[in-house]
Symmetry: C2
Subunit: 199 residues, 2 copies
């Protein structure tokens, strides 16, 4: 039995694991799992992941792993996508935590509310736009002098951050206001073989 | 020059790094940095950490590291607090990401609003209590059959999760409703030499 990814293609967290597996040439079976209709809160799924979230990866030995960025660190261990220098590796991991605490909660959530749950702007907490724009500003500042987040080449930090950033327009964020981020999206899309996203 | 921790003792994220350094016997100088009065958004601090957050650790060579859980992974590298088995290590890292995405945003934030910013319950988004209780429930379920989060011994997962869990009462969460969590707090407090927290 090969590797299985339980994922929802509307979820950037799930797409991270797909993008990474594709770029590593790691074969997998994708099991569509709806993150919005309650499926991940029901007993059969909770038996796989008690956290009640996608993605989950089932390894060839049948054991399950949860949390997109943890899964990526596991699958990419020993690959070119994780710096060997301990300091650079920690810088990369710092961006992975920042993504989950300071980017996904605003940018992914506002995109879900607008694009999937069809909320009007006045039904959405204004903090999501403010904090998401602050996150994009931090990324833009950092990328103003660099081609990639760390180590001057593609690492897991780029894959983790691009998943929701490339869809930020669907959340009402204006990527054109963040030119270094837009240029980086084009660069990483090329590295990953993804279609270009127009700002 | 030794290691420096820029931290606010009201912040669980900062305390994680302190608890870890203490248990590893790693000496440091603690530079008090107020996370609430805007200090971390001003130029002198942003020069140290453009993310504008504490904790930051300055290593003996003068380089800075951000993000509490990334800092812990760096400082504890090669220690008994990180499992050597790759699968267990990834399980531990998964809890670190879960903490930043599914625990801190509810439990730490509600505690800050109530205990530090003195908000009344009716001024606080009810989702914080609901989601925080769901997080405590997931922890309680997991700890119902285990003494520690992974590998049956103290790891970074316990240190990351205890920081805000032990103060959850200040956020209006009832730890007595989560007996396995309460027992685990007592166990980890003992391991870390911290005072007992009464549920």
């Amino acid at each position: 039995m090969g590797m299985v990814i339980y994922g929802d293609s509307n979820s950037g967290n799930c797409l991270k694991v797909k993008y990474l597996s594709d770029v590593l040439g790691q074969p997998y079976r994708w099991i569509k799992t709806n993150a919005l209709n309650g499926e991940t809160q029901k007993a059969p799924f909770l038996a796989i992941n008690p956290m009640g979230q996608v993605p989950v990866v089932t390894m060839p030995d049948g054991r399950h792993l949860a949390q997109s960025n943890a899964i990526m660190l596991h699958l990419a261990d020993g690959s070119r996508l994780i710096p060997t220098d301990p300091f650079e590796r920690t810088q990369m991991i710092a961006w992975l935590f920042w993504e989950q605490n300071n980017h996904e909660p605003w940018i992914a959530v506002r995109r879900k509310l607008k694009s999937m749950l069809k909320k009007r702007d006045d039904e959405i907490d204004p903090a999501l736009l403010i904090n998401g724009n602050r996150a994009l500003g931090i990324m833009n500042e950092h990328l103003g002098t660099r081609g990639y987040f760390v180590a001057e080449r593609l690492t897991l930090a780029d894959i983790a951050l691009i998943a929701y950033t490339r869809e930020a327009g669907e959340g009402g964020y204006k990527l054109a206001d963040f030119p270094a981020v837009s240029a980086w999206i084009g660069r990483v899309d090329g590295d990953l073989g993804l279609p270009m996203v127009k700002p």
